[in-house]
Symmetry: C2
Subunit: 215 residues, 2 copies
Amino acid sequence: MSPTERSTVRRGAKRAVADRAQLHAVLDAGYVCHLSTVVRGAPLVLPTGYGRVDDTLYLHGSTGALSLRTAASGVEVCLAVTVLDGLVYARSVFHHSMNYRSAVVHGTAVPVTDEAEKLAGLRAITEHLTPGSWDHARQPSRKELAATAVLAVDLAEAAVKVRAGGPVDDEDDVAADRAWAGHVPLALVAGEPVPAADLSPGWVVPSHVTRVADR
Amino acid sequence: MSPTERSTVRRGAKRAVADRAQLHAVLDAGYVCHLSTVVRGAPLVLPTGYGRVDDTLYLHGSTGALSLRTAASGVEVCLAVTVLDGLVYARSVFHHSMNYRSAVVHGTAVPVTDEAEKLAGLRAITEHLTPGSWDHARQPSRKELAATAVLAVDLAEAAVKVRAGGPVDDEDDVAADRAWAGHVPLALVAGEPVPAADLSPGWVVPSHVTRVADR
């Protein structure tokens, strides 16, 4: 993972995982990334979709969107993907915590100009939401492609943190036995597909939609 | 909501909601915020817990943590809370989307030095995870309080975006009727509480834990 000074996890180093497969797994498990840029010296963070191809993360947006214009001009980006796995109840409020898998990526967002890579990036972003979506729906027109900016971020500089399991309490608090301790798992669960109001009758929900995986 | 130039939603203005009650609702519905700061000219974004008291958002961390040290020195912060509500399948890949509620706050994180406010901030952060947690568990010791930095962010400058419902397709694609269209709701669902491995026998899971609300 080649941690740099910046991506080396300083606090809670025991939760850092220097493993590329685990970085990919966290990125693949999330739906939304939080993309941070510096705009006129001030921080800006916005939620956005993304997709991954090997060690490249793709972002997209309107060609006019503020954060993407900034990134396209060469400013650095930092983005985080966080999957919340549970709430952790300790004997002390001090040790209350959350279970999560988190990836933080530092890099430069490079505008994708090659049309084939642009399509591959958009495909990755769409397939990231639900595999099978890209081939089922209408592909982008030239006009739609021109209106869409695609940015590539190399995943070379990244850090993963994972917390799992129950609380870690002070010995005194365990001995005192004055509070319940444990954790509650949380998972993002998919409900029943809702057909569009203007969908013509006779459509069966396609299999890529019925099998949306809980994350 | 007094949107400034910066917090005015430029893209998708129809999704901006200039309503303070809705800002509070989004912040209260999330578990994790993504806190962005500028460190040596570069953006940094990290996931962290938070709590709200009226129009003040509280953050906490180790007194040594990088992002909080930066914020305490007066640098601006930007933070986002995003609640993912569903996946949206359009007839075209271009109009695929996600349903979400999102709040983005711009402000300065002010270190809380008053001990009563510091406790109130920590209480808000703990109660935000699960109401009832603070009173059930052991309160912070002087040593724990000294090791914890609490920061307050005024919610004056904020923007809310909400997307809900089904896809918005081009008329031509609706008429062509070549793809299924609709959405799949997503919700963060709580599982069964898991007692800590070292919990003494005889404990019943307390009611504030059994009633963790799905979000």
